[in-house]
């Protein structure tokens, strides 16, 4: 798992929290562009867009470079990759946990009938499922024996 500082992640998510900044990133995902072009779809002043771009820059999501009179903006996807790595790691982690739980339940079921699913027998009185009180093992064992 990649190490990444909490402060840096806070910057990334702070930057992502604003819809205009997300739109700017989405625009940059399709290629490098100038500040002027970024401002157009948002009907915003150049200054306002510049402010947003500065937040994105601080979070490491965007790099800007002056080219003559034009400032070019480029997407830097690395911080997003960290979030994606977190997601990949924990997706696998919990799938593995569920496998382990499944196996554990199988082991318990060999020893203890209380761990086995108990379908309602035909003709047995139906009980409300959501509000059924938890029964302890010994009671259940008695019922089965």
């Amino acid at each position: 798992m990649v190490q990444y500082s909490q402060a840096a992640l806070d910057d990334v998510f702070g930057a992502l929290a604003d819809p205009t900044r997300r739109a700017i990133l989405a625009r940059l995902a399709s290629g490098q562009t100038s500040l002027m072009e970024l401002a157009q779809p948002h009907k915003m002043s150049l200054v306002a867009v510049q402010k947003h771009v500065r937040v994105l820059e601080r979070a490491g999501l965007v790099e800007t470079e002056k080219e003559g009179r034009v400032r070019r903006c480029t997407l830097q996807p690395k911080p997003l990759r960290t979030a994606a790595e977190w997601i990949d790691f924990y997706q696998k982690f919990w799938e593995d946990q569920f496998d382990a739980l499944e196996q554990f339940i199988g082991e318990m079921q060999k020893e203890d009938p209380a761990w086995r699913p108990q379908p309602a027998r035909p003709g047995s009185p139906s009980k409300p499922k959501e509000h059924a009180k938890p029964r302890n093992n010994s009671e259940q064992l008695k019922r089965r024996n």
């Binding site: 992640l9 990759r81 979030a83 994606a84 977190w86 209380a114 086995r116 108990q118 959501e130």
Partner: protein
């Protein structure tokens, strides 16, 4: 991506287990049962559950040894314990720098079969990500996916 999640970074896993809900719930909070599967590595000894005080505000701590003898420590705080329906706890590995994240586990009884469906959501919650920004994460996910597809 459609999601009701409030966090930009979250994982969701769902599975049905062939066991009654009370038993499945207890496997998550009873230290003796937890030790046999929770965070346990394959082919490794049981996890040492140092504490698991399963009530709102209570703590848990686990010491995990992998099959090569390497030791990892995890800890967190229970936020909600509603047997046998719902469990919410914070999650933290000591060895990484991701900070607190929150795990919500919903246990649903599957009608007559007495099976249990578990729906788990694990959300990363950096301080600023949870400032009142409840809308628009779908956009964010889409953007994230697009960006990653292009950059990897």
């Amino acid at each position: 991506m459609a999601t009701s999640s409030a966090s930009p970074v979250a994982v969701q896993v769902k599975r049905t287990f062939a066991a009654p809900r009370e038993r499945v719930f207890d496997a998550w909070v009873n230290p003796k049962l937890m030790a046999l599967w929770f965070t346990r590595c394959k082919n490794a000894p049981p996890v040492e559950v140092v504490e698991a005080n399963a009530r709102a505000g209570g703590k848990y701590r686990v010491v995990v040894t992998d099959d090569k003898g390497k030791v990892y420590r995890g800890h967190g705080t229970y936020r909600e314990v509603k047997r046998p329906e719902k469990l919410v706890f914070t999650w933290n590995w000591d060895h990484d720098d991701y900070g607190d994240s929150v795990v919500t586990v919903d246990f649903r009884a599957m009608g007559e079969s007495n099976f249990t469906e578990i729906a788990l959501t694990h959300e990363m919650l950096p301080a600023r990500a949870i400032e009142d920004h409840r809308k628009g994460w779908e956009e964010c996910y889409d953007m994230l996916e697009r960006t990653l597809a292009e950059s990897i």
